[in-house]
C-alpha cells in the first residue's frame, strides 16, 4: 500500500515536471524582440493596475477614456513586459498632463496575462465585454499578441501592437504594428545585415546558423512554412556564401557546450545566431570556454544589457529600430521622452535603461492609438481604423509611418544594424543612421 502510494506520487510529480518543463518553453524574456508562444510559467492571479490621470497642467475633464490591455508582468516574458509597462505609464501620464485624449482623462486598465496566450485572449475578452473599455492596446509577445488580435477583430476594435514577429499571420484590417519590420523581415532583415557585412569590404566566405526553435526566429531563418520564400539561410546562399553550419536548438536549452563545440568544428567566418533573450550570451560563454570565437557574430533579438556584460561579445551585431544616440536623438523631444523612459525603467529596477527597440515600439503603439482617436475626432473604432489607414501616423521615434493595406498594414522595414563597440551598442549601418564616427567593424 505504502509502495503504491509512493509510486502514485512519483507519477504525479513526473507528470508535473513534464508539464512545467513543456510550459517553460522559452528561456526568459527578451528585451529586444518578440518571443512568446508558450504556455504559462507562473500561476499567480492576474492583477489589475490603473494609471490615474494627472491634472498638473492642462485639465482634462469628463468621463475618463479607459484603455484596456494586458502585458506579461509575470512568467517567462516578464523581463520585457515590464519595459512596456514602464513606457505605457510614462505615455499615459504625459498624455494626461497635456490635456488628455479628446479633452478627457485617460485611464489604463492593465491586466497581467502571465505570458500566456490563452490568458491574454481571455483578458481581452473580459476587458471588452465586462470592463467595457473604450480602446485596447496590444500585449507583449508574439503568441499573446496573436491570441489577443483575434479577440479585437471579433469585436472590431482597433488593435495597435508592439513587437509581434510572425508578420505574415496578421491579416486583420485594423491591426497596426509599431515594430516596422515590413511584411517580409525574413528577407529584409538578413539582407540588411549581409549588406552591412559587404560594406566592410571583407565579407565572409562561410557562414554558420544556430537557430532557436521559437517560431519568430524560425521564420526569419527559413521563411514561412509552406512557401518557398526562404529566409536568412537561403539569402546567404544566394550571395554565394558557404553555409557550413545550420542547427536548430530548443527554446529551453540548458547545456550550450555541444552547440559551441559544433560551431568550433564548423569554424564559420560569420556566426548568425537566430536567437533571442540570453541565447547569445550563453553561446558566447560556451564558445569562450572551449577557447573559440568566430571572426564575427550576429544575434537576432538579444537582451541588450546582458550581452554588453559578456566577455567576447565585442563586435556582436544585431538589428534595432532605435538607439539612444544621434542621429536618432537629434530631436529635443526625443531626448526629453527618452529621459522620462530612462527614469521609469530605472525606477522599475531594469538594469539596462536605454531606449531601444522594445521601448520605442511601445511608445509608438500608444501614439497610433492617440492619433487615431484625435484624427477621427471620436472613439468610433471603424473611423479610427480608417483614419490610420488613410493618414498613417507621425511618430516620435520613427517619423512618418504609413500602413499599406496590400501589405497587411505593414510599412517598409525600418531596421538598422547595430554593433557592440567599446562596450556599448551603436548603430553602424546604413551609414546615414550610424552614430557619429561609427561604422561596421568586421574582418574574417
Amino acid at each position: 500500500m505504502r509502495s503504491h502510494r509512493r509510486w502514485s506520487y512519483l507519477a504525479i510529480v513526473t507528470v508535473l515536471a513534464l508539464i512545467v518543463a513543456a510550459c517553460a518553453g522559452d528561456e526568459g524574456g527578451d528585451t529586444t524582440a518578440p518571443p512568446g508562444t508558450d504556455g504559462p510559467t507562473d500561476t499567480s492571479e492576474p492583477s489589475t493596475e490603473t494609471t490615474e490621470p494627472s491634472t498638473e497642467t492642462t485639465e482634462p475633464s469628463g468621463e475618463p477614456i479607459r484603455i484596456g490591455g494586458t502585458l506579461a508582468l509575470t512568467g517567462f516574458l516578464a523581463a520585457t513586459g515590464v519595459i512596456h509597462q514602464a513606457v505605457g505609464e510614462v505615455f499615459v501620464e504625459r498624455l494626461n498632463e497635456q490635456g488628455g485624449l479628446l479633452g478627457r482623462p485617460v485611464e489604463w486598465v492593465l491586466l497581467d496575462d502571465e505570458s500566456a496566450p490563452d490568458q491574454s485572449a481571455a483578458a481581452y475578452e473580459r476587458l471588452i465585454t465586462e470592463n467595457e473599455v473604450d480602446l485596447v492596446i496590444g500585449p507583449y509577445g508574439t503568441g499573446n499578441i496573436t491570441a489577443a488580435m483575434a479577440v479585437a477583430e471579433r469585436y472590431g476594435y482597433v488593435f495597435p501592437h508592439h513587437t509581434a514577429s510572425l508578420t505574415y499571420a496578421y491579416n486583420y484590417a485594423c491591426h497596426f504594428s509599431s515594430w516596422s519590420t515590413g511584411l517580409h523581415p525574413n528577407l529584409t532583415n538578413p539582407n540588411l545585415v549581409y549588406d552591412a557585412l559587404e560594406s566592410s569590404g571583407t565579407p565572409p566566405e562561410t557562414i554558420g546558423f544556430v537557430v532557436n526553435e521559437f517560431p519568430g526566429t524560425m521564420f526569419i531563418s527559413y521563411g514561412q512554412d509552406g512557401t518557398d520564400e526562404g529566409g536568412a539561410v537561403a539569402e546567404a546562399v544566394k550571395r554565394g556564401w558557404d553555409v557550413v553550419l545550420d542547427i536548430t536548438f530548443p527554446t529551453a536549452t540548458t547545456d550550450w557546450a555541444p552547440i559551441a563545440a559544433q560551431i568550433r568544428d564548423a569554424d564559420p567566418d560569420f556566426l548568425y545566431i537566430a536567437g533571442l533573450g540570453v541565447d547569445a550570451p550563453n553561446i558566447i560563454t560556451a564558445m569562450q570556454a572551449i577557447d573559440y570565437l568566430p571572426a564575427g557574430m550576429f544575434s537576432q533579438w538579444p537582451a541588450p544589457g546582458p550581452l554588453l556584460n559578456t566577455e567576447g561579445a565585442d563586435g556582436m551585431m544585431s538589428v534595432t529600430i532605435f538607439e539612444e544616440h544621434p542621429p536618432f536623438t537629434d530631436d529635443p523631444e526625443v531626448v526629453e521622452v527618452a529621459g522620462l523612459i530612462n527614469e521609469a525603467l530605472a525606477a522599475a529596477g531594469i538594469p539596462y535603461t536605454k531606449v531601444e527597440t522594445q521601448a520605442a515600439a511601445s511608445w509608438t503603439a500608444w501614439e497610433y492609438l492617440q492619433q487615431a482617436a484625435e484624427g477621427a475626432g471620436s472613439l468610433d473604432q471603424q473611423a479610427m481604423c480608417d483614419w490610420l489607414l488613410e493618414n498613417g501616423a507621425d511618430t516620435l521615434f520613427h517619423g512618418d509611418i504609413q500602413f499599406f493595406a496590400d501589405e497587411q498594414n505593414y510599412y517598409v522595414d525600418l531596421s538598422k544594424v547595430k554593433q557592440i563597440q567599446d562596450g556599448d551598442w551603436w548603430v553602424v549601418y546604413p551609414e546615414e543612421f550610424a552614430a557619429p564616427g561609427r561604422s561596421v567593424i568586421y574582418s574574417p
Binding site: 515536471a17 526568459g28 523581463a79 555541444p258 550563453n282 569562450q288 537582451a303 544589457g305 546582458p306
Partner: protein
C-alpha cells in the same frame, strides 16, 4: 570524433551540475518524504544572492559560498521545523512547497525585477576559464561543480552508511515511529537533513550564478531535467543522483552533437521513461535511504 569527445566531456561536467541540483531534492524526498518544489527557488535565490554580493561588494563569486551555504542551511532547518509544526506529510509537502516556490519567485521578481541579471566578466574570472586536455576543453565552473558534486555524493554516501547520524536518517526514512521508539530524535534528524539539502541547493546556486544569466523564470526550466535525475538516480540515493546526472548529461551532450540539439531533450526523456518502465527503483539501488 573530437566533436563527439567534446560533447561527452561537456555532458559529464554538466551532469555534475545537474547532480548537485538534484542531490538535495533526492535526499529530501527519499529520507524526509518531502517533495520539495521550493528546492528550485532556493537554488535561484542563492544564485541571486551570489550575484548581489558580487556586484555590490565586488567579492569573488566563489567566495560567497561561505556566506550563502550556511545561510541556506539555517533556512532549510527552519523550514523543516515549520513543516513539523504544520504536520506536513508527503502529499501536503507537494502543495506547501509549491506555495513556497511561488512566494519566493514573486519575492525575487520584486527585488531583482523580471529582467536579466548577469555578473559582468570584470567581476567573474571563472566564466570563460577552461582546462584543456589536448583539444578537449573542460570549463572551469563546471569542472568545480562536478568536483563538488562528487565530493558531496561520496561524503553523504559515507555519512549515511557509516555514521550514527546516517543510520538515524535511514531509520527515520524507513519508519519514523519505530525509529522514535528506539530513542532516535527523528525531528532533530529531519531538521539537520533539511538544512543540509537546502545548503546543497545553495551551493548549486553559486555555480549557476557564475555560469548563467539569471531571471525569475529560470527555475522553471530546471524542473524536467532535475526530476529526471532524481528519479533515474533513485530517491535518497546520492551516488545514484551523481550517476544519473552524468548519464543524462552525456546522453544529451552526445545526442546533441550527433543528431543536433533538438534531439537532446528527446533522448533525456526517453531514458527517463525507459527507466520508469524497466528500473523504477533507480539506476543504483544499494545504499539508498528511501
Amino acid at each position: 570524433m573530437e566533436l563527439l569527445a567534446q560533447g561527452i566531456a561537456s555532458g559529464v561536467l554538466i551532469g555534475g551540475l545537474y547532480a548537485l541540483m538534484a542531490l538535495g531534492l533526492s535526499l529530501s524526498w527519499g529520507a524526509l518524504k518531502i517533495i520539495n518544489l521550493a528546492h528550485f527557488s532556493f537554488i535561484l535565490l542563492s544564485a541571486y544572492l551570489v550575484y548581489q554580493l558580487t556586484v555590490s561588494y565586488e567579492v569573488d563569486p566563489l567566495l560567497t559560498t561561505i556566506i550563502v551555504v550556511p545561510l541556506f542551511f539555517v533556512v532549510g532547518a527552519l523550514m523543516q521545523v515549520l513543516f513539523h509544526l504544520a504536520n506536513v506529510d508527503e502529499f501536503k509537502s507537494l502543495i506547501v512547497s509549491f506555495g513556497i516556490f511561488i512566494i519566493l519567485q514573486s519575492l525575487m521578481r520584486t527585488i531583482w525585477s523580471a529582467d536579466f541579471r548577469r555578473i559582468g566578466s570584470d567581476l567573474n574570472p571563472y566564466e570563460t576559464e577552461s582546462i584543456f586536455i589536448g583539444n578537449i576543453a573542460l570549463p572551469l565552473p563546471q569542472l568545480v561543480a562536478f568536483g563538488a558534486a562528487v565530493l558531496i555524493a561520496a561524503a553523504m554516501s559515507l555519512l549515511l552508511s557509516r555514521s550514527y547520524f546516517g543510520k538515524a536518517v535511514r531509520a527515520v526514512a524507513q519508519d519514523a515511529d519505530m525509529a522514535r521508539a528506539f530513542g532516535i530524535d527523528s525531528r532533530r534528524v529531519a531538521v539537520i537533513l533539511s538544512g543540509l539539502t537546502t545548503a546543497f541547493s545553495a551551493l548549486a546556486g553559486v555555480f549557476i550564478a557564475v555560469g548563467q544569466t539569471l531571471f525569475p523564470g529560470l527555475a522553471v526550466s530546471w524542473f524536467g531535467i532535475v526530476f529526471s535525475v532524481v528519479i533515474l538516480g533513485g530517491l535518497g540515493h546520492t551516488v545514484g543522483a551523481l550517476t544519473a546526472g552524468v548519464t543524462v548529461g552525456v546522453a544529451a551532450g552526445a545526442s546533441a552533437v550527433i543528431w543536433g540539439p533538438l534531439a537532446a531533450p528527446l533522448v533525456t526523456f526517453v531514458i527517463l521513461i525507459a527507466a520508469l518502465l524497466f528500473r523504477p527503483e533507480g539506476l543504483i539501488t544499494s545504499r539508498s535511504v528511501a
